[in-house]
């Protein structure tokens, strides 16, 4: 894991000191709100419906136990005892008082965390596959690349006033768990015919108002060209991107309006300028970073305890079947800890739960934790012999929900329960769907199904790439929920199609129930997932179950 250098520490400390002064000057009246607002946003501090909100970056979703304990401390000391993990591998605190924020940032800086560039038209927290360094299927760990990009993009003088915000995601595996096709730049680590590691680069993906799937701009960028090439992309966008209309300012629109080839030409022109400026220090730095991400010393131990518990304990078995993923090291497993117990707010963890997770990471997980964009916590390296004890501890802390990848493992943005931009609530919809399916005892039969809910068109809840997406809108002063179908955020990424008219807050949960029950009738075997069935059959039969009245009308018309 990466440890801050003296330079990193001094830089983050300097920013905390600056912000402390800025907050003091805002409170004593020497700074007006218009002057203060961009300064607080540069430090991740928003003003929401009921309070300020502090968004803290968790770089590429990776945490040590001491960092997780500090996140717990912030929740307990300066917030209301919990934090909300987001789809961008950040954590948000919903209730800080303005005067406490400098102390919160100081506590974060003390463990190498910060809230820099978690807002504003800058390069945001670089995200990565949450199974990085542990996944069986990866070519290389994406985190050294993400850390290199973090260092390059943090306070980059050319990129502090981009046309709009800019998001980068990295995957080290062909199976994409980082949704790289929905990012401004998506990076996939690849290996060429000569066995050299390089990067496939995508640009112009994004969700929001105008969802688009990223396009491959280069099939293979060599290590020494990665930073100059990324700098060339952002520089080209910085010049070409529109500043006249905020809704057309993201790079996806720049690429779309100019065409990929013209945009690539502009990037290559910039590359001729950026490449000579990189002397090779970036490659040297990358090697130094990479060394810090060396895998831990794997333990070689028998797994009998795991096998015995798996046979004897049905609760453990159910949890192991859904929440464990194959690990690259013999005898190990990747543990996904669900923050989606039915009825719970997706992505929320209490201070006590965060501390319990930190303890578990320290005791059983080589001191590593990850936050997934799906709003769960990952213990990436757990030896199988420790799993029964770990599971027992998770149960004590109400963290043992066995539902990863199932109906109740729902992504939901904060929605209008907190967010000033939201047009409707999303949390209660997620809670009710999860509770309903728990009642039906169906979700293991239904199998893999990704439901994603956003409370506005900006799509923080990734609804466009949900197998079932739900978008909350304000229709004439009433909450209304649109359903999209067939979206996907993996390597087969697709944007979901709108199913039809929206549903009221009372209608949306029964509508999702009809849809899922309808799928059970439509699938050709229990092995065919919702998404596979949708892709085979198309939208018509799904719309028919979603809108039975229209279907009945159509049938009557056909009969007449």
């Amino acid at each position: 894991m990466y440890h801050y250098t003296d330079f990193d520490r001094a830089f983050v400390q300097e920013r905390v000191n600056q912000f402390r002064g800025q907050v003091e000057r805002r409170i004593d009246g020497s700074l007006k709100e218009e002057e203060f607002r961009p300064l607080r946003l540069m430090n991740g501090l928003y003003l929401q419906l009921h309070a300020y909100m502090l968004r803290v970056a968790i770089p590429y979703g990776t945490l040590r136990s001491d960092q997780m304990r500090t996140l717990a401390l912030l929740a307990e000391k300066w917030d209301r005892g919990y934090g909300h993990f987001t789809t961008r591998q950040n954590i948000q605190y919903n209730w800080p008082a303005l005067s406490d924020v400098p102390d919160m940032l100081q506590a974060l800086a003390d463990v190498g965390l910060h809230a820099i560039q978690t807002s504003g038209n800058t390069i945001r927290n670089v995200t990565a596959d949450h199974f990085a360094g542990a996944a069986e299927d990866e070519i290389a760990d994406p985190r050294p690349v993400a850390e290199l990009l973090r260092q390059w993009s943090t306070d980059h003088p050319e990129f502090q006033f981009l046309p709009r915000k800019f998001k980068i995601a990295v995957t080290g595996a062909a199976h994409d768990r980082a949704v790289i096709q929905a990012h401004d730049i998506g990076i996939q680590i690849v290996e060429n015919a000569k066995g050299e590691i390089g990067y496939k680069l995508l640009v112009g993906g994004g969700l929001g108002r105008t969802p688009m799937i990223g396009k491959v701009i280069e099939e293979f960028v060599a290590q020494e060209d990665l930073l100059p090439y990324c700098e060339a992309i952002v520089a080209a966008y910085n010049l070409l991107g529109r500043r006249d209309n905020k809704y057309k300012a993201r790079i996806k629109i720049t690429v779309f309006e100019n065409g990929l080839d013209a945009f690539r030409d502009a990037v290559n022109e910039q590359f001729a300028r950026t490449k000579p400026a990189f002397s090779g220090v970036d490659v040297k730095l990358f090697e130094e970073i990479r060394a810090q991400f060396a895998p831990p010393a794997w333990r070689n131990a028998p797994v009998d305890a795991y096998d015995a518990t798996y046979e004897a304990d049905p609760l453990f078995r159910s949890w192991a079947d859904t929440n464990l993923t194959a690990h690259r090291a013999e005898g190990y497993a990747i543990v996904s800890v669900s923050l989606k117990k039915p009825g719970q707010t997706p992505g929320d963890a209490t201070a006590a739960q965060m501390r319990a997770l930190a303890d578990l990471a320290q005791a059983y997980g080589h001191d590593e934790l990850r936050i997934s964009h799906e709003q769960n916590v990952i213990l990436p390296h757990v030896h199988k012999s420790d799993l029964p004890a770990l599971h027992a501890k998770l149960r004590e802390h109400d963290l043992a929900a066995a539902n990863i990848g199932l109906v109740s493992d729902i992504i939901a943005c904060p929605g209008m329960d907190y967010c000033a931009l939201a047009t409707a609530r999303s949390i209660p919809v997620a809670q009710q769907i999860a509770l309903r399916f728990e009642e039906l005892k169906l979700e293991h039969d239904v199998g893999p199904l990704k439901i994603k809910i956003s409370g506005c068109i900006n799509a923080c809840g990734h609804h466009h790439v949900g197998h079932i997406g739900i978008l909350g809108l304000d229709r004439a002063g009433v909450e209304n929920y649109q359903v999209t179908l067939g979206g996907s955020g993996d390597e087969t990424a697709s944007i979901g199609e709108r199913a039809g008219p929206g549903f009221s807050a009372d209608e949306i949960v029964p509508a999702i129930e009809r849809l899922v029950l309808g799928y059970l009738e439509l699938r050709d075997s229990p092995e065919e997932s919702f998404l596979a069935a949708y892709r085979r059959l198309g939208p018509a039969p799904f719309k028919a179950v979603l809108y039975p009245e229209q279907e009945a009308k159509r049938e009557r018309a056909d009969a007449a």
């Binding site: 409170i27 419906l49 009921h50 209730w95 008082a97 707010t345 609530r425 949390i427 209660p428 304000d474």
Partner: protein, 99 residues
Amino acid sequence: MPRKFTPKVVTANRLLEGDAVWLTADGRWTPDMREAELLDEEAHAELRLLVAQSQADLVVGPYLADAVAGTAGPEPTHFRETFRTRGPSNYAHGKQVEL
């Protein structure tokens, strides 16, 4: 034709706590919307908004929000404003337990 003026309240978020507050007739900022001044006249509403905007040391982002007269005082007409009077629906936090 200009749109007919509908009654309003002046609302904002408090600078230090960030919570929602409303402007009263006697110029206080209250966390209880029912104590707010209901503004029936457009010119007066604009004037009260100017007063609010001059208090940047107390509040952030004042604006006029639609409201109607209720039995105990002004009430919101839009669900967003209703949520601001009570807090989030997923926890018993905010005004629903603090007022």
